[in-house]
């Protein structure tokens, strides 16, 4: 489990885009660095990020080692009814974590 900070409005207007921000605490080890002995430090990054709203996709991102450590994302979501925003990410070790936030639409 990694620590995740999300910034999602609790209330949104129907059909009007709102911004979502997300900060994941993850080293995003690129696999390009070497340790003191000269051995390559194995790659360990979050390679996939998927955001859904009520099960319908908002966006799907493939991430590569060029994404900075402690990845930050900001994007726009549009909703027609109240529901659950789910943000799922998968890392190289196969660890899958989902953060959910409920949004009330008026």
């Amino acid at each position: 489990m990694v620590r995740v900070l999300t910034n999602v409005p609790k209330q949104a207007k129907r059909g009007e885009p709102f911004d979502v921000k997300l900060l994941i605490s993850h080293p995003m080890e690129s696999g390009q660095r070497r340790d003191a002995m000269g051995a390559t430090i194995p790659r360990s990054i979050i390679n996939s990020f998927v955001c859904t709203y009520n099960g319908q996709e908002v966006l799907r991102a493939d991430l590569f080692p060029a994404i900075a450590a402690n990845p930050f994302f900001s994007f726009a979501v549009v909703a027609q009814e109240s529901g659950m925003l789910a943000m799922t990410f998968t890392d190289d070790n196969g660890i899958v974590q989902t953060e959910t936030v409920s949004v009330a639409v008026e």
Binding site: P17, S30, S74, F75, A76, V77
Partner: protein
């Protein structure tokens, strides 16, 4: 191994170097090849996609980047970002679903050196649009 034997073997190429020699950075040609593969025959045109990056970067370890497309979300198939001077040029690929509010994403990226960063937007109708930023990196992202 005796010195003479080593010399004979290395002369015949039987002693291989321990680590394969690999270029540190991708080249613009590598990125061009990736883009051609992505475009799949479509002509690459300037416009519609906007890549927001600072021109002067103080710290390559974390550079704020925003990519957006001037089109309805449903018309955008994918956005790709490539960094020509990074060891691995592909930075990001994003696809948008029906609940996306706008074809836009902001994140923070690593840049290994001063270079050109290219964003490609592929539309649902098959056309490809690009934008690029030439930037100067003072402190490179550590790769060593």
């Amino acid at each position: 191994m005796q010195r003479r034997r080593f010399l004979i073997l290395s002369g015949t190429g039987l002693v291989v170097p321990l680590a394969p020699v690999r270029p540190v950075h991708a080249t613009p040609a590598d990125v061009a090849a990736l883009i051609v593969e992505l475009a799949a025959g479509a002509e690459l045109r300037d416009g519609r996609v906007k890549l927001d990056l600072p021109v002067m970067v103080e710290n390559g370890n974390s550079v704020g980047m925003t990519v957006s497309v001037d089109a309805p979300v449903a018309d955008v198939q994918s956005i790709d970002v490539f960094a020509e001077g990074n060891p691995l040029p592909h930075v990001l690929r994003v696809r948008f679903g029906p609940n996306a509010g706008a074809p836009r994403i902001a994140t923070r990226i690593r840049l290994a050196t001063s270079q050109t960063v290219i964003a490609i937007a592929k539309m649902a109708d098959g056309t490809c649009w690009c934008d690029s930023v030439d930037l100067l990196v003072t402190l490179a992202a550590c790769i060593d």
